[in-house]
Subunit: 105 residues, 2 copies
DNA sequence: GTCATCCGCAACCACGGGGTTGCAGATATC
DNA sequence: GATATCTGCAACCCCGTGGTTGCGGATGAC
């Protein structure tokens, strides 16, 4: 399962959107979704495998936190593909290719 | 089927990569893949539905051409999600949000 | 200690989608 | 006109996966 496949599911994208506003547990997230806690938990497990999320256990609950780095990889691929067809994507590609160290957050 | 789902399949991504180097027909593409022509044709049909590709019939063959606009939409979503977690993604989001008219090549 | 939560694991189901093969239609080529 | 390509449509198979339910194990509250 790669990043694109992880982003393919609408529920998963919504989970990501929620996590973008702050860390949360599986049950908290499941409360705002029409699916069961187990389903959300599965999605979070997938997102964790791909690296889009990190899980930290605190007592009896585990908080999930967004990790946007894989998104940059995906965007890099897209920018590279579209670079020779779209000037703005070419500009984005140059931007993404430029390595920096003071990255995430 | 949305753009992310379209990008989820590795074969489809490879097709897109090939089309980035120039238009091609289904049979031409199938020649460089381990799958049948029909499979490639299906993928091209999907990519057409999503808008990542346009098909133009010339005589008895149909050429497929890349159309990178949907990629920008996808990148825009990702940038928006990661914006509050990553400064560079925030910069990209500002860049993608800026509307222009002299777009796709 | 007892009870209530929160969680993960496992089994199970249903559906979609990637792949194949086969065939019929349309277009160049001779 | 006869033939060879190029294509699209349809039927079919199989496996991955999103979803469910049920259960048992940890942890916190009383």
């Amino acid at each position: 399962m790669d990043v694109f496949a992880a982003l393919a599911d609408p529920t998963r994208r919504e989970v990501i959107r929620c996590l973008a506003e702050g860390p949360a547990t599986a049950t908290e997230l499941a409360a705002q979704f029409p699916v069961s806690r187990q389903a959300v938990s599965k999605h979070l497990g997938l997102l964790d495998e791909v690296g889009l999320v990190v899980a930290t256990r605190e007592g009896r609950e585990t908080r999930y936190q967004l990790r946007p780095e894989p998104l940059r990889d995906a965007m890099s691929w897209m920018a590279a593909v579209g670079a020779r067809w779209d000037d703005r994507l070419a500009a984005l590609q140059r931007m993404l290719a430029r390595p920096r160290r003071e990255d995430s957050r």
